[in-house]
Symmetry: C2
Subunit: 196 residues, 2 copies
């Protein structure tokens, strides 16, 4: 049982996941081969299997790490007793910053989840549905409390999450707009649209 040196193991595993993430984002999960990944790690393809079990496991690790991070941040927001608009602003900022700071991982979780093997795929989609439902409930509560404008909550959630996921495109651009400007203006846009 290799428990003692698990620190070194997980370190190498993390390197593999990090390099793989970059390639998955650049070329897509299907087009990035194990040999591609191995090359950027500086090793032969077969050697990767001393640290991971399969290509799919890398994708799983990325997708569920991101999902868990979003969920635990939402837990926190839900526990707080802020007004609805403040809650939504916090959530929006969390999403924007995740997109700015962990671009690679969030992008993969957004775009490559369909390559997850079952039962992870169903699991992931259930988590996502549940997450959006919770966001939608926050908005619905805000409408009933007359704190935000009357808008179909599902559509508002869809609009917000999709808008933010588009930051991917900024990330690949020549960045004439700074990250701060981007965050400030997108928050402004998305929050103004919720106000009464």
């Amino acid at each position: 049982m290799s428990k003692i040196q698990s620190k070194k193991n997980s370190t190498k595993k993390e390197i593999i996941i990090e390099k793989a993430a970059k390639l998955f984002r650049e070329k897509g999960f299907g087009a990035a081969s194990m040999r591609d990944i191995a090359e950027t790690v500086g090793v032969e393809a077969a050697s990767l299997y001393n640290h991971i079990q399969s290509k799919a496991e890398i994708l799983q690790a990325i997708c569920f790490k991101v999902a868990n991070e979003f969920i635990s941040q939402l837990d926190e927001v839900e526990r707080s007793n802020e007004p609805t608009l403040k809650k939504m602003e916090t959530i929006i900022r969390v999403h924007i910053r995740m997109m700015l700071d962990q671009y690679e991982h969030v992008y993969i979780s957004d775009h490559e989840w369909r390559h997850l093997p079952e039962p992870y795929l169903s699991n992931f989609l259930n988590q996502r549905r549940s997450y959006r439902k919770r966001l939608s409930d926050i908005i619905e509560e805000g409408i009933q409390k007359n704190e935000i404008k009357n808008i179909e909550p599902y559509v508002a959630v869809l609009t917000i999450l999709s808008a933010i996921s588009g930051i991917e495109s900024w990330h690949r651009s020549r960045k004439t707009t700074s990250a701060e400007t981007l965050e400030a203006n997108m928050v402004k846009y998305l929050i103004e649209g919720l106000k009464k």
Copy 2:
């Protein structure tokens, strides 16, 4: 020279493109094989090559058809002398309806363009950059004319286009929200966010 029966030819070609589009959307360009496409068309894989030149050609046809449609709609809006807010609403509605009516093609154009071979890839990206610049110019003009709120035009464009492209997720859902409700609410959200 086969020009006379070009109608029957392009008809079969269109069938292939349509079936391929469905598969590209479901499984991604890379994961959808020529043999998959052939099966849904009801033919052997090799027979496809009597009507198309390559797998990539199918992707090109889809991406550029969509791009051209958006561009020509934007031409029309630019020629009109409506106020900025009205222009933006028209563009937003065009995008939403394209997403509703031509889901499969628009989705592919949004998500699978990276698999375009050169020089089509550069071409496509140039067209896209130019398109976004034109949208951004409309917003900038609106700000200078004091018709809409002071917001970074690039960020507004990014937000609008990304939000709409998220309708993809609605399309795959159980649709407890009707298309009309979706369009009305998304327009409301995105336009309110632009108003002063």
